[in-house]
Amino acid sequence: SQQGEEDPQALSIQEGENATMNCSYKTSINNLQWYRQNSGRGLVHLILIRSNEREKHSGRLRVTLDTSKKSSSLLITASRAADTASYFCATVEKGSNYKLTFGKGTLLTVNP
């Protein structure tokens, strides 16, 4: 069954603006991960946040996790045209050591 739901499904912004994508999930988790997929390519891991963490940074990426609301957000600051891609959140449910369950993704378009 599907775990993560990203919101919005699609987002279009101008270069230099910030992009925020949200993810909600249903069960208790070990960790939550964000991946990027460029058109026609494989997925690339961006960031992993554990259930006992609230915020993590990596370069222009900032991820937050609110386990009480079962939600996470991915913020991309100072976006670039090269950030255009689909972004997926994926969760590892507690008790499921190997299974990563993906959401439907947010398609981000950054216009030059």
Partner: protein
């Protein structure tokens, strides 16, 4: 020096045929996965192997049979292909399980006519 590689990249075949997709990782990882991504980009796990042992089998029709000859390889064989099997299939690997970061291959686009 590709980390996770898949062959072929594209596969076009007729209904009823049998085909295989190969995956290899040179990362020294213990766990490998097969995912199916449908036309709406929904990505769903199919199988996972840890050290050549099957640990996840997500109610996939038994026409799909994974084979792991060693921990660096996980191949996917599909019998009696159906139109609904058309999708992009991704192989991935991770160091162990436990929700480790997964490294994905470039995908194999399967089209069944």
């Amino acid at each position: 020096d590709t980390a996770v590689s898949q062959t072929p990249k594209y596969l076009v075949t007729q209904m009823g045929n049998d085909k295989s997709i190969k995956c290899e990782q040179n990362l020294g990882h213990d766990t490998m996965y097969w995912y199916k991504q449908d036309s709406k980009k929904f990505l769903k796990i199919m199988f996972s192997y840890n050290n050549k042992e099957l640990i996840i089998n997500e109610t996939v029709p038994n026409r799909f049979s994974p084979k792991s000859p060693d921990k660096a390889h996980l191949n996917l064989h599909i019998n009696s292909l159906e139109l609904g099997d058309s999708a992009v299939y991704f192989c991935a690997s991770s160091l162990a399980g436990g929700g480790d970061t997964q490294y994905f291959g470039p995908g194999t686009r399967l089209t069944v006519l």
